[in-house]
Symmetry: C2
Subunit: 321 residues, 2 copies
């Protein structure tokens, strides 16, 4: 099969071996895959992962290695963490924190930048029929945005600041805006900020921020060390800092400031797919505007370069043409 | 009056001017004062505070500058933060986070290492008659331990680790132990650990810790950079790290580890006096064993040196003899 993989540098290969589904896993033909910032870091060699990256996808189940064939032939999206199933964390439903977990396209499991991938059936969610693949492909990053609401009771009267007008920041701002809270997005690029602005979200550039911290919740979605430090200043005493991005650059959070301002810091990672699919099906979010380009998979290396441009948002790989 | 003050180095002075209570403040004659690690940092010049340190005390109200004389002649302990009373944080009851706050013996307000101090009447709590001054003097650090329970719902079935067998660690471990949770104290000094052990708290030295993180809540009370980093490793995914100490040494919390393990970090500072006084009056805690020495105030400089010794716990200054 065709695959975009990393072995020290990005390579496009036309006869990569087809993956074999283990017991309980489905073989999935990929229709569309999204390039995420984590993928770009993998292709820069920051994570140590070698193989096929990619963890945002829509595909069709070709076959299931197991008795339950309910999903065969169905269009699906999939959760990316595969726990060992036996440890105490897995038994408590915390497979995404299993120490021995595999993660699609990130750790120990080939990913979605290929014509076929495998995932346990338990990880799959059927895509509602009326939902276009170009929207359903946002289920995974959108689930990560919904994760914030699983961890934190956001009250509709609260003032929330989202730092970063990248893909994650724009999705998080839209999801948090659904709660009725007063959401402000802080970013640099007028075209990106306009996407949030059209949804009724306040937008600000760094130069017109209030000097003192008055936000009850600040979501760090810049992925930069400066973002995390700035977040601590902008938050009000007793407020909450949500860390959404795993930073490649080593950075520092000052524990003294956390104690003196009694700040709560919340690490937040993968989230629930069901509410993400419901929000997409209900048309409550603008994901279309986040698509910078859709390129045929044969042009994957070009797509990778485009995804890394500062002005880009989501670049999709299309396997259907 | 006699006072122990800092002007670049610790000095003992016999005719320091008496403080004048502002409107709504009481003049308090100090009976007993405790030396805290924060005081030691002030005397090392780490905080930039010049004047009379000291914020743990028991005293008698001599006079009140105001109409309400209810407390005159009463034995009291006192909350240490004095907000401006006018800003939005003060109006929300968050005076301890007021940007213009004064703090007894720490910031803009002379402290308890003197024969007299002043505090707003609103900050004062009468000491129950049967409670000895040697116990009541622990109200302030004990309130800081109770602060954890104000911020965090500790469930009785949880596994909690307290890092640090200093004064704060020993008080926090005892307070958390009251909830029914399984508390383990990690420390270095057998004599200090024995105080917790006698209360039924498990104690461990660093060499017999479990290799992997399995604690749902870890309380950092070592005040060391290594402690904060170690805490992140010992905590289980999704768990909570409570930061109790303002670290003098610059240190680092790794945001990537916080995100990947989805850890909640909680800064925790000053707490409620009423539950601390109730717990002391009810005899539910052992504070007596934490007293290393009680020295007359005339020997304050000697007391300061003793308080700085690694094997010391609480050193008290006695103004009654």
């Amino acid at each position: 099969m065709k695959a975009l993989y990393f072995d020290g540098q990005p390579r496009f290969e036309v006869d990569f071996p087809l993956p074999a589904p283990r017991s309980g896993e489905a073989l999935i033909r990929v229709l569309l895959a999204g390039i995420c910032s984590t993928d770009l870091e993998i292709f820069r060699g920051y994570s140590g992962f070698c193989g096929i990256p990619g963890h945002e996808f829509v595909g069709v189940v070709v076959e299931v290695n197991g008795p339950d064939q309910t999903l065969t032939g169905r269009r699906v999206v999939g959760e990316i963490n595969i726990g060992c199933g036996a440890c105490s964390l897995c038994r408590q439903g915390l497979a995404s924190h299993c120490a021995d977990r595999r993660v699609l396209g990130i750790r120990g499991h080939q990913g979605a930048f290929a014509e076929y991938l495998t995932l346990p059936v338990a990880n799959l969610h059927p895509v509602p029929e009326k939902l276009a693949a170009e929207e359903a492909v946002f289920a995974e990053p959108l689930a990560a945005a919904f994760r914030i609401l699983e961890q934190l009771h956001l009250r509709p009267s609260q003032k929330i600041l989202v730092l970063g007008d990248g893909k994650l920041g724009l999705l998080a701002a839209q999801v948090l805006h659904l709660t009725g809270a007063a959401v402000t997005l802080l970013g640099h690029y007028p075209e990106k900020m306009a996407i949030a602005g059209r949804q009724g979200i306040s937008t600000r550039s760094p130069r017109d921020l209030p000097a003192d911290g008055s936000f009850e919740v600040v979501v760090e979605a810049t992925g930069s060390a400066a973002g995390a430090r700035q977040a601590l200043c902008l938050i009000r005493p007793g407020g909450t800092l949500v860390l959404k991005s795993t930073l490649a650059a080593p950075t520092q959070l000052d524990p003294t400031e956390i104690v003196v301002k009694e700040i709560r810091v919340l690490g937040s990672r993968c989230g629930p797919f069901a509410p993400a699919l419901r929000a997409l099906a209900g048309g409550r979010l603008d994901t279309r505007s986040l698509i910078t380009s859709v390129l045929p998979f044969a042009r994957a290396l070009e797509a990778l370069a485009l995804a890394g441009a500062k002005t880009s948002l989501k670049v999709l790989l299309d396997f259907r043409r």
